[in-house]
Amino acid sequence: MDIEQLRKIASEVVARDDVKCLIGWKKGSYGYRIAPAFVEDTEETADLIFSPLCTANLATYLTLVEKLPVPRGQEPDTRKVALMVKGCDSRAVTQLIVEKGISREDVVVIGCPCPGVVDAKLLAEKYPETEEAAEVKWNGDGFLLIRGGEEIKIARDEVLAEKCRLCRYPNPVISDLMLGEPVKPWDVPEDSGVVEIEEKSIQERWSYWLEEFDKCIRCYSCRNVCPLCYCQDCILDRLNPTWINRAVNFSENTAYNISRAFHLAGRCIECGECERVCPANIPLGKLNRKLAREVREKYGFEPGIDPEGEPFQASYKPDDPEDFIL
């Protein structure tokens, strides 16, 4: 990754009058952590990085903005937000545009072709985190971990994030500016996580998920990190009527997790953020990828690919074979 090119592009973008800020990644406070960077002037672009540790999908910040009432006599700030995106992240931006959550003009997309990021948990298991903020680079087919003056070569399969193993869109599907050259997509294996669950009997599946949902502490980090969970008025926050009780028990937890999965069917772009941030280690990716696969196979639909397309739930094909409807 050419860091100079990144800083040059970023400086030019933040210098634009019609851009409010640029959202990218920067080194975190320790170990393998990365923090989102909100860059408002050209000097701060020196903090920006793009590395295999940049897992976070920053598209979530496009709809997370809290708008305070504009004081009388002032104009609302309508400048664009510039956003650094990997392939998966770009699908979230596209899907937001399709759903009219944002408009294309609101955002400057800086595409970052991505050879695959690391799963920081896996990396920390094999190479324990230290207080020093480490650096990881793409290195041929694998990764290079740099810390304490030491360089460790790591094979790609050893620490690659699962979402990347299954990724079919490593290159951004939309972009205004592109960082570096497109990468060559790789062969995607069968989704073993989903298959493993499909092979269980209905009872086994039910008890598997009940056990998983029982761990949920309802911190809602999965909802909040999700770029496509952006309803102004989420059913979870509703108290009258209360659709899902606040009580934390497996019944309400299951209602919550299944509702969220269904609300994302045909919308989830498989960035894996929900599973990454879950403090209870619930394999949410399996749930969402299963629904994504059903939608892909049964309806031939994939969300977040075509900014001119229609949302899945709003599309209708007269020649739909309907061969699975009883």
Partner: protein
Amino acid sequence: MSAMLLNKEKWPEFIGKLAGKNLWAPQAEGDAMHFAQVKEGETPGLDFGNTRVPPKKFIFPQTETMYRFQLGGTNIEEPVIDDEVVVLGIRPCDARANKIIEKLFKWDVDDPYFLARQEKVTLIGLTCTEPGLNCFCPSVGGGPASTDGLDILITDLGENYYLEALTNKGEKLLGEAGDLMVEDKGDGAKAKEKLVAAAEKKINRTVDTKGIPEGLPGLWEDPLWKRVSASCLGCGTCTYLCPTCHCFDIQDEIEGFDARRCRMWDSCMFEEYTLHTSGHNPRPTRRERTRNRINHKYNYYVDKFDVIACVGCGRCINLCPVNIDIVEILRQVKEAL
């Protein structure tokens, strides 16, 4: 109070003595530890890092039924909290947190639920010999062998466990297993001291809290709050995993004619926290909410109860999805003073 040595070979027997009690201990679940009930015949080990979710649920459950009632009826049925619980392997930071939040639950009105549960729980702590990467307990008044809030403290000396009874409850429990242990003649205490000193040296993260509680009000409008909260997602991870966070919300839950009033953990990082019925919210954005989280721990609580409401367990740092690091925030606060 007595200090005893227990040979590790007798550990299963020691656990056997606790059989019949409602015993909870940390157990592995994937790559994380969590407190689970010990089933008959199981022997929990003490070889683990701290649990992801703090064990505050034993005195402050995530959902607590306050009373039950029937729609249209006038009788209320209060729950009886009579479950004796023994928690094995709680870390000194988490036990200390219980004592810190107790101050609030005993403040103007005695909170019957919290105090009843506290009465019924026996906490057997474990000295931290391998502190985590983000531990900073000595900076906020704790330490790897802090005994605040514990009934018994166990230290792993290699061949033996060194057990100290710290309260009458602890003394009584140790007494039940007295025949398995020998009294410490001082060697155990010395060995423990060495281990604790070594553990303290392994703690690299520090916060210089001097001046922070007094200085925070002056930083109310400081640009630092916008900076540190910019990436906040507004989820409840930091607060739900915090052993000292104690905010709750009270709600009625109704199923048919059966209803209950219950209270559940709430998080100051949520959008509807302090949202008024008028639609006004005194903390309208994550900037104000992040500021509140830090101020509550390092200023309001200090003002009222003379103690920082943070025990330095590092959980909020470990699991924040976007690397919001309280040590780093406090460093910036210090810098801005």
